[in-house]
């Protein structure tokens, strides 16, 4: 008897992912059968809604953009051993800051976008600076403090929108931003804008930074083995503070991209849960920025596909959410198994 050669790590991973996906589909099929729909029709509709034609693909990428940028923000934190769960709040403040520059000032076209984006980045970084300071100075758990900061950020932007900058009449939203502050759209038929390219460029830049620079290596070391990093002469506190600040800045950028690129104004509760989606995308990718591109795309496809699903089948919104969660659950379970086997180095955040 000849023994089969063991599959390589990558092959095993892919096989595991495929298996996870099949399990998720099977579980989803059971639920779909329970509501008297055909599982095949539902999954075909999901695919058609995500990739059916050029418009649908653009819709998927539109959904992917904020998840990707928030995911990069989370990746940066995770690599440095910081679990920034406050991306949601940074996104809201960044979004508001960019919109404010957009409607309150009149600037030449390109400059207007740059200034608005810069303020979004500063707002995001400033918002995480408080939890970051407590983290490095007093060792306060940043998971708790950044989650709490989310509530304050969401309500603070609501307050700004409703009581200080509400446009007369209409919904609780700011006046529209000037056209000079619009992010350029990529196609005439979709709201998809250069935010996607910003996200991809950011992912590649982050990956290169961690792979090729001494600073990137230092951050990774602080994240995986802080004692060793300290022994090697790295100021662990300073690096930790910097990591959170950059992570928050990217979170703010995500908000700026959404308001300048898609909504062209700030609405109360404009992007609920996007920050958390980003964190999950980054965790699924095991903290890899390039991997996050794909996990974010996966999320974006699920979101975009489910919009058509709701219209074209009798599946209700709740059922769709359950199916989404099942797919994510199955895929993430497999990734966690792989992490146990293949990854070395100790992360401070253990689950």
């Amino acid at each position: 008897m000849k023994t089969l050669p063991l599959p390589s790590g990558l092959l095993r991973t892919l096989a595991g992912q495929a298996l996870a996906f099949v399990i998720a589909l099977a579980l989803g099929a059971v639920i779909i059968l329970m509501i008297d729909e055909s599982p095949v029709a539902v999954f075909m509709t999901l695919m058609r809604g995500a990739f059916g034609d050029a418009e649908k693909i653009a819709g998927t990428l539109l959904q992917t953009t904020p998840i990707l940028i928030c995911g990069i923000a989370a990746c940066i934190g995770l690599r440095g051993g910081m679990f920034n769960v406050g991306i949601e709040g940074q996104l809201f403040l960044g979004g508001f800051a960019a919109a404010w520059v957009g409607f309150a000032f009149s600037l030449p076209p390109v400059l207007h976008v740059l200034v608005a984006m810069l303020l979004a980045v500063v707002a995001g970084a400033a918002w995480v600076a408080i939890p970051a300071f407590f983290r490095v100075r007093f060792g306060t758990n940043e998971v708790v403090s950044t989650i709490l900061a989310n509530y304050i950020a969401t309500l603070l932007t609501s307050y700004f929108t409703i009581f200080l900058f509400k446009r007369p009449g209409g919904w609780s939203e700011t006046p529209p931003i000037l056209e000079s502050a619009y992010l350029p759209e990529l196609f005439s038929f979709s709201r998809l804008n250069i935010g996607l390219l910003i996200g991809i460029a950011l992912a590649i830049a982050t990956a290169l930074f961690f792979r090729w620079t001494a600073k990137g290596y230092a951050v990774t070391m602080v994240g995986s083995a802080p004692k060793f990093a300290e022994y090697g002469g790295i100021n662990v506190r300073k690096v930790g503070f910097g990591v959170l600040l950059v992570s928050g800045a990217v979170g703010g950028l995500a908000g700026g991209v959404e308001t300048l690129g898609v909504h062209h104004r700030f609405m109360e509760g404009f992007a609920p849960g996007f920050g958390f989606d980003g964190v999950i995308a980054a965790l699924l990718a095991n903290g890899s920025p390039i991997g996050t591109i794909f996990t974010a795309l996966f999320f974006g496809a699920l979101r975009a596909g489910s919009l058509l699903l709701e219209v074209d089948t009798t599946a209700s919104r709740e059922i769709i959410t359950v199916i989404q969660a099942l797919i994510i659950l199955a895929v993430s379970a497999d990734l966690l198994m792989r992490r146990r086997g293949d990854r070395t180095g100790e992360r401070r955040w253990k689950f």
Partner: protein, 333 residues
């Protein structure tokens, strides 16, 4: 001969396949909103379901969720195939996306419920909430004017108003309420406040308690779920409240004076009925008012039993005058 027979047969088949189009086409209706599970949204769903039972229409309900990023795709997905004769839309947060998609699909008939927008290709189901609120204001004003001789009323000579968000439709409620109070009881002043949110019952309760504390004895709730707090506060403070959209007498028995009903069910049913019976619904504004049963003030039995007869009589006169158009009420802009 053979050829002739075949032609005949083909003709029969053609005629048969064409037949269904002579019969009444099934009307396809979609409705999209984030509020189908609460208050006014429930009333709309009731009307849609009634139309489905009575007319056998094809009905599709879509929940928008709360992600502004999704709205445009959701509208486009519904409009693109052109399979729906009418698409009902409810919710002011959807307005921007709706108008954009409506411009892309000008032949798709969208029915915006509860307001009038700029777009010329849409149908607007508008409610004369200022008329119902006028009656509510008149009732509250007259009861407050009775002073301490009526149960639970103090010397404050004031009535209150808790609005959800400061949006045009809520302003219109307030306008009618103020005019009604002024018409029936000029001495009673109206204290109004906006919660800034439709989703915070605790805040509604807090604001209502403040109004009661300032001497108002009757508070009109126009605040969606925030208003549930207003109703609870009226029981806590043992004062009066006025409900909105649906019958709220049961939410604080003995403390609810009346409810101003906005009959979303009446509106959607009437529109679908026209469409089904061959009167094609065309773009423009349709107002559902006191006369057509689109709005009405429903007294709560327990409190109404205690009301002096002259107030009831006067209220009926006012009701009649508003319905006939004898009393003109200004709409908030």
């Amino acid at each position: 001969m053979k050829l002739f027979a075949r032609l005949m047969a083909a003709g029969v088949v053609l005629a048969a396949s064409a037949l269904p189009s002579f019969a009444a086409e099934k009307v396809h209706v979609a409705a999209i909103s984030g509020y189908f599970a609460q208050g006014f949204g429930v009333s709309i769903v009731n009307g849609l379901n009634k139309a489905k039972t009575d007319f056998g229409i094809d009905l599709k309900l879509v929940d928008t969720g709360n992600r502004a990023l999704d709205y445009e795709e959701q509208f486009a997905n519904l409009a693109k195939s052109g399979q729906y004769d009418l698409i009902f839309v409810m919710g002011w947060e959807l307005v921007d996306a709706l108008q954009k998609v409506s411009a892309q699909y000008p032949n798709q008939r969208f029915v915006f419920i509860d307001g009038v927008l700029d777009s010329k290709t849409m149908i607007y189901a508008n409610f004369a909430e200022e008329q119902g609120s006028f009656i509510a204001g008149a009732l509250a004003g007259m009861v407050e004017d009775l002073g301490p001789k009526f149960d639970k009323i103090g010397e404050g000579k004031a009535i209150g108003f808790v609005g959800g968000r400061d949006i045009p439709v809520i302003r219109n409620f307030l306008g009618g309420y103020e005019q009604g109070a002024k018409y029936a009881a000029p001495d009673v002043k109206v204290n109004s406040v906006f919660a800034g949110t439709f989703d915070d019952p605790a805040k509604g309760s807090e604001l209502a308690m403040t109004l009661y504390g300032q001497g108002a004895d009757i508070v009109y709730n126009v605040a969606g779920p925030t208003g549930e707090g207003v109703m609870q506060a009226s029981a806590t403070a043992d004062k009066y409240s006025l409900g909105v959209d649906i019958d709220m007498c049961a939410s604080a028995p003995g403390n609810v004076l009346a409810s101003m009903l906005k009959r979303g069910d009446v509106a959607v049913y009437a529109i679908i009925k026209d469409e089904v019976e061959g009167r094609k619904v065309t773009p423009g504004t349709r107002t559902f008012d006191l006369a057509s049963g689109g709005v009405e003030v429903k007294m709560c039995e327990d409190v109404a039993a205690k009301l002096p007869a002259e107030i009831k009589a006067k209220l009926e006169t006012i009701h009649k005058d508003v319905a006939d158009g004898k009393i003109k009420i200004a709409r908030a802009k």
